[in-house]
Point group: C2
């Protein structure tokens, strides 16, 4: 699946993923009205509105992009009907040939992570049948529980030829609270009244683990099925982590609405414009609410999304050009 | 809800939570057969088997215990039908008067955590209606993203009089890989060739943050709506963390099948046998598969679970007695 992702990035020339994170406030009123008239102001109505919204955006952008990243929280908030829309969105995007990254940030003790891995990437045995719960191509994973919480995902990836992106340095403002803590990484060389450490932040230590895990399952193009999440909002850390995890594709959130621009992204990539894929959610799916795209209006929301994708690809292209890549 | 939890612990004399983590291998054959005959060897059949299994165990144990903790991964693996059973289990347990801890270990950037908090603890606005997706009393939260990933959960807790348990030191074997790393916590006092740190592990730093967060929303009994998860498998760390987070209830997994016994638990509690609640999952729900309870057989699985709960309460009681509490 990492090879398919790379192939699609090369075909489209777009190291771009559209985040399908549909808050209801992003959905135009005419869509909500139609959905609520049919299903009521209920979880079912919300889920229908989200489905109509997603489908229109996917139909207008799928030929430009390699991948989408639905954020499952935005569906979970609408309960069972919301998760039906999540599955329907995933299946629809895969039918359209898109690589689907399920942004679930799951992670637990071993046996529980195994259940999550089955749920999102694999199969579950029921009697003598094998069934699939959800069926994405990649899932995001939280590393706080350590290797035995991550390994079950890698095991299922190897069975299914699918992949994961492990959180390393997240895009949010408080990500440094724990992730940037300097940790002991060398042998403790005692100094009077304390211990001497090398000054490496936790995210680097997690990045090193990702590099280790990535060796377990390599694709054909020099990149592993085990990737990492590093926020576009932290370009300097991105530059370091690109080197720490040379074989891991980096999923880069935080572009656009979260504040990062094309120039911040260069160091997440390798010399061949590979090694990273940049996510934009609100900046694409709610583009029509942005003054820049206001001419499209709510009726043209999906066309606004298409234009925002084109502009994002251009922005990244120009950033590459500015450094001669 | 923390006050209800404390009241129920005092009424039952049982600081015990039953983990409803129903892997299909725990479900007796006669239950699976009945469910598969009705719904097929499908996700629906699995979900039905799990529901019948859960209901029987809850019916035989609810009078002995204050709380249950369904692990959502075990339901998510059965997709939409599994999540229908999750919701049905949650609703049934709440009708029985049990406090329900949704073990979801969610956590993300702020706006996404807000969606998870709405999904599991709160309400979501659909047009002019307020709807509930899932409706547990407490949810477990992963802290890796820092304060802005946790705060949205606390905000919803304050609206709903509900609570969270934040992962601090998890029960699994590799939890130390990142959580035990010694981190810089004081001012860096430069020593030649390095930086001098105080030797505090990451879990303590996370524990201190939990202590800070807990101040935001206190119950009437000296404990906060913001609690912590600390594994029974790490009793020494439990003793430290009890002091670091004096106002946080500790949810303690890892008892029984994961290896910890009553004597390991004492230091998680305060002087009044409060401050902690101990989870057992497999040890209770799959008790009939344990040689100790084999006389019950698969037909008596729920009675075996009841006896296992009684034995667990006795084990903890004896541990308290041995230290004169």
């Amino acid at each position: 699946m990492i090879d398919k992702l790379i192939q699609k990035i090369q075909e489209t020339g777009a190291p771009v993923v559209v985040g399908l994170d549909p808050m209801l406030k992003f959905v135009p009123d005419h869509i909500k009205k139609a959905a609520f008239e049919e299903k009521g102001e209920t979880l079912e109505g919300a889920a229908e509105a989200v489905w109509l919204f997603n489908k229109a955006i996917v139909d207008k952008t799928y030929d430009l992009i390699p991948a989408v990243k639905p954020q499952i929280a935005m569906y979970e908030q609408f309960g069972i009907p919301g998760l039906v829309t999540f599955r329907r969105t995933v299946d629809y995007c895969r039918q359209k040939g898109l690589v689907v990254i399920g942004d679930a940030k799951r992670g637990d003790i071993g046996s529980t992570s195994a259940a999550y891995a089955s749920a999102h990437l694999g199969k579950v045995k029921v009697g003598s049948s094998l069934c699939r719960a959800f069926d994405v191509d990649f899932v995001t994973v939280n590393p706080y529980l350590g290797s035995d919480g991550v390994q079950p995902f890698i095991d299922v990836c190897m069975e299914e030829q699918k992949g994961i992106f492990v959180l390393v340095k997240t895009s949010n403002p408080s990500s440094g609270e724990f992730q940037d803590r300097l940790v002991q990484t060398g042998t403790a060389a005692g100094a009077a009244g304390g211990i001497t450490f090398s000054d490496r932040p936790l995210y680097e230590v997690v990045g090193e683990k990702v590099a280790e895990w990535s060796e377990q399952f390599m694709g054909k193009n020099g990149y592993s099925y085990v990737g990492a999440v590093v926020g576009a909002t932290y370009p300097e850390q991105g530059m370091v982590l690109r080197k720490v995890m040379p074989k891991s594709f980096i999923l880069v959130p935080g572009y656009g609405a979260q504040g990062a621009a094309g120039k911040d992204l260069i160091h997440f990539f390798d010399e061949n414009r590979l090694g990273a894929i940049v996510n934009s959610s609100r900046g694409i799916i709610a583009a029509y609410q942005n003054e820049k795209y206001s001419k499209y209006g709510p009726a043209g929301f999906a066309d606004a999304s298409r234009q925002a994708v084109i502009d994002m690809i251009t922005d990244i292209d120009q950033a590459f050009a500015s450094v001669g890549r």
